[in-house]
Symmetry: C2
Subunit: 769 residues, 2 copies
Amino acid sequence: VFCVFKVSHYLLCFVPVGRCKAEWRPNNSPKLMDLLDDTVPGIGTYEDFNTIDWVREKSKDRDRHREIANKSKQSTVALLFSISDAFSGWLLMLLIGLMSGALAGGIDIAAHWMTDLKEGVCLNGFWFNHEHCCWASNETTFQERDKCPQWKSWAELMVGVSEGPGLYVVNYFMYVCWALLFAFLAVILVRAFAPYACGSGIPEIKTILSGFIIRGYLGKWTLIIKTITLVLAVSSGLSLGKEGPLVHVACCCANILCHFFTKYRRNEAKKREVLSAASAVGVSVAFGAPIGGVLFSLEEVSYYFPLKTLWRSFFAALVAAFTLRSINPFGNSRLVLFYVEFHTPWHLLELIPFVLLGIFGGLWGAFFIRANIAWCRLRKNTSLGHYPVLEVVVVTLLTALLAFPIEYTKMSSSELISELFNDCGLLDSSKLCGYTSNSGSTSGSVNATAANGLGARLAGPGLYTAMWQLALALVLKMVFTVVTFGMKVPSGLFIPSMLAIRHHERDIFRGWCSPGADCITPGLYAMVGAAACLGGVTRMTVSLVVIMFELTGGLEYIVPLMAAAMTSKWVADALGRESIYEAHIRLNGYPFLEAKEEFRHKTLATDVMRPRRGDPPVSVLTESGMTVEEVERLIADTTYSGFPVVISQQSPRLVGFVLRRDLVISLENARRHQEGVVSMSPILFTECDPPMSPSAPPAVKLRSILDLSPFTVTVHTAMEIVVDIFRKLGLRQCLVIQNGRLLGIITKKDILKHMAQMANRDPDSILFN
Amino acid sequence: VFCVFKVSHYLLCFVPVGRCKAEWRPNNSPKLMDLLDDTVPGIGTYEDFNTIDWVREKSKDRDRHREIANKSKQSTVALLFSISDAFSGWLLMLLIGLMSGALAGGIDIAAHWMTDLKEGVCLNGFWFNHEHCCWASNETTFQERDKCPQWKSWAELMVGVSEGPGLYVVNYFMYVCWALLFAFLAVILVRAFAPYACGSGIPEIKTILSGFIIRGYLGKWTLIIKTITLVLAVSSGLSLGKEGPLVHVACCCANILCHFFTKYRRNEAKKREVLSAASAVGVSVAFGAPIGGVLFSLEEVSYYFPLKTLWRSFFAALVAAFTLRSINPFGNSRLVLFYVEFHTPWHLLELIPFVLLGIFGGLWGAFFIRANIAWCRLRKNTSLGHYPVLEVVVVTLLTALLAFPIEYTKMSSSELISELFNDCGLLDSSKLCGYTSNSGSTSGSVNATAANGLGARLAGPGLYTAMWQLALALVLKMVFTVVTFGMKVPSGLFIPSMLAIRHHERDIFRGWCSPGADCITPGLYAMVGAAACLGGVTRMTVSLVVIMFELTGGLEYIVPLMAAAMTSKWVADALGRESIYEAHIRLNGYPFLEAKEEFRHKTLATDVMRPRRGDPPVSVLTESGMTVEEVERLIADTTYSGFPVVISQQSPRLVGFVLRRDLVISLENARRHQEGVVSMSPILFTECDPPMSPSAPPAVKLRSILDLSPFTVTVHTAMEIVVDIFRKLGLRQCLVIQNGRLLGIITKKDILKHMAQMANRDPDSILFN
């Protein structure tokens, strides 16, 4: 786990790309796309850490579809195949939903059990968690569900007595030991088996969805290790959530299942449609919010999201949510631990505290992003990064040591949120509901309280203890999350330790409430605070509100949530445009062309294209007249990922574009398999052969790998339009012409570098093509 | 109302385009875009019934934004202006939400009152509707809320007695008279003041959002007349719903409010962003479903929907929903009349009837579209279309005559749906709940029934009457809707007369239910049936499910709804790919490039471009060397909407593209205002002037209107890619080059004609550019 020098991992992966695990590479399959059936294996595929060409992928898929449609008219078998092909997308979605739902259920159950294992063990069977252990017990009273003789804390088990001064120390020690063990196991597993299993995964998934290739990032090893280490990391008590990793797990499932469907295995664009749906599934199982998950995928992670994908994502998200529900990991028939249901109306004036919460959330979001990025940079640039295992162990140790004494940091994030979100019932034993807890807990008093209404109760000392503990928990969680994110799992869940704020409101607003009515819903404040903080960190808007709406199930609270989310986003955007995911993408130098931000500068294509003014002209191939040797020398001398093909050097009129990889593979293949090819053999991109002397060596004909319809812009085209074209069509490169003459080339990397430069950032931070 | 010869309206509008009402024309404003400040008024605008160029509009907006950003650094006033400019979008959304919500509330109240007016009048004041009249009365019992002495039917009022055989006939007569009056008023108003106020509006709004100009379609007259006639048409009892027109009304509001914001008034692309949000608002107020509205806009009507619009649409939809709620038109604190809340779980085996409902819905949808289009064609091609007023009056007469005797056709669609969706309560007086209604209605029996559970009750004769009436109502509604849609308002609401099916299920499934439990929720069947039918007609998917989810407020029923909606869409798609809206778009010949359907044919740009093979070469301008006279002759001889500019006729290398409209305006302007311009004056598109003899007339320099970065494709580019480019970038035309030489041009109309041809349809059905 806890990969630190991500970039160095990637750089390491760069070198042995030829020997990379073959499992995820389309070119591994001997049969190629129909379009390229008569060509050489490997053509039409991509190298690791490269950008795909969406236009080419989509064309390939359309060709495939066309061929199936044509064949289906000829025979019944082909017709059946065409129908099964049409439904394979839905089947795939079903499988992804089932698999992700099942995995999420397993993770929830395992994490719950292991979190409890830190505190004690069940005598009825070690595989019971605290709650299940006491369910099985008959001696549990309704008032104190958590206490039963079958559940023994470690101290009770080891010392043998059930009370005494040493018990606390022994429990403390065991808690820290277990936490360290879990964290150590997690980090060792990740380092040994799957370095990609570290981190949140969402920045990388965003990049992959935008059309980047990171082989193995969504592989089976990543899935296995990520699932195991996610449980370990959550159980270790580190300040992290399971939402981001669940998205990663769902995407791994999708990628693995894609392998059983030719349609998706062989097409990077189609695969990304499936992955978009899978990220919706991830959020759906993390929050139990299928609609919110789809909107999250649409708003936050997806790049290419056609309407067909919308519908399929929705289907997959629903399947996953219902799978999870039937597993019932929390034993409450709900999809999430912190499902809430309260319907107290809110007062219009309460919008003011909601907006204040939004401002707080925005400030926190901006601060969190800066602090986290600064910490990650520090880790990257100093020797701190050389000891990732040690870092994890130290952070876990500190977290565990500080967390145990405070009730609200000791409990897991989900439990905490569950407690904060819920409105106080009359029988609630939580300290947060301890309004009258010390005035006598007889049944009569409970009835009296009910008669007075909750609002009339006075805050007891238990509540004040809870409040300062909560405030302390908030500060601690904040600090630890900054340090933890980037080691392993994201800040998805922890955030809403916002209860500390709410009770002040209560005093201010008491005047507005009709006497006896509980007009302030504390759970609502916690929820709005959570939304504001999450909004500040991730800059989600509609999806965040919809996720919260699905959690509460009432349209009543959409307005408070929206007010907070909107304020939070505005405040955070004013302090820095990037979300935490985008900041991490930039930190890692991925070539990600953000679709949200408009390009506002008034530069032209001529300012961005290479060669720059004064440089030698662009390296081109001519459609005839070059020899194998010349082309090989050009390939060796340059690092461009492709070459324009022109009529002749004197008349640089564009004929087409050929990709470096395709060219290299074709030349190798010609040298190996085509008879008589020598260094002096001419290379022809023309349709018809020019006249040649019979003694000349046979020509290498490469028109089949030539892209005859490369995208072109003129030198006068505004960069804002070029950026728009790249974004919307998913281009990899574009040629620049003037009055029909080829002048230069613009690649995605050039654009990103240009954008970095215009934003006064280091253009060399863009590492990949 | 009830415009019949839509196309003829448009053709009429074509001719007096120069004298069109000036209010909606950006070129009416003397100050133009900053970019074009120094040029002639009118340049950069579009003619009526033409397609906009999204790229140009977006560039204009970016230029504007850039200028404001630059100025804001210079002075405080400019800074404030820049801030107000940034927030103007949100303000506009707020206003649209408020206005649409208020209008929708007014329409609901007025329609409710006028519907009741057909039956009788309130003695306390004629402005009370039936329900309000009896609320005010003290003599109403809880059991019979609808009966009170203050409410008099027309017969009672006129004949003077409260019982007798003639009463029914008089009421029948008055009902038909009122219906005829309302319908006649509506059709006369539409014909006299706003022909565009007829119909659903959604097909036209879809077309407008895709980048088409129909001046006055969203104007203030259309708004006023549509609001009034919508109330009249709904009240007249015609088989139509108010959803489509509410979307139109919301879009009119948006368009009118856009006028107060320079940013949106002067930019067609920005205006369309606002209109996309407005269509979400329309659905939000029609169904009380803000999230569903946003998804409807995204899935069904919008063309260009950036994330910023998503967030703003959501805001506007919420504002509208809350405005409507505070107006409280139905007196139940809900946004819609047929809000339902039931939480009975459903059995997994019930999925089978749900899927069957889906199949029925799909079949109905496909049948409805065909029948309706056939009817519209008939109206268009025969003399039927010459008597629109007569048609409306006759249809209304028939509807009213047949509707009055049957209880379920007599009540308004919303009331019917409300009755069908709701689960039977114990005190419900509806006949549909009449399981034990004739076994004695004493209080004791009610208690006994409650003890037995609803499921144990037997169906009474009242229920069977209700069932055959409902089946009859279903058939009648179906026939009338086919005839009515296209006259005025869409089939949004009426559909779910599906109750007839549900009771059969009850018998089949009784075996599955635990005795005494009401395991079949009849309201759920009605709702699923409604969703299936609506899905079959409109082909909505996610948005439909989400709208229904918001109506019921429970995630439990998402799976049944989705199963039905999905089946319905598949079945309907198998019988015909188009939704009712798309069918009407095609019927009217609008240039709409559908984004959902992939272009699957293997044609190349060279097959579509003009000139075709064998035709004379494309008409071009040269960048120098042409005179004013030559250009004017070229303009007069051709009808192209633009001309490529090349270096010379001999060397047709592309320099740029100039739009016909810009060229005409510039030449007129030069003739009028530039001194010494004669027919022999040269026209120059070059950057620097070529040497000329001093005696030559002064040159007309037109480089400022030249688009130096026209989009180009090569002759080898597959049409699927060209279509993709047009869709995603919103192009109007694209030039075709080969090896740097200009060969032809492809316009949006060419593409649509080509697509029509490939689909074996008449390419001449595409009427507009």
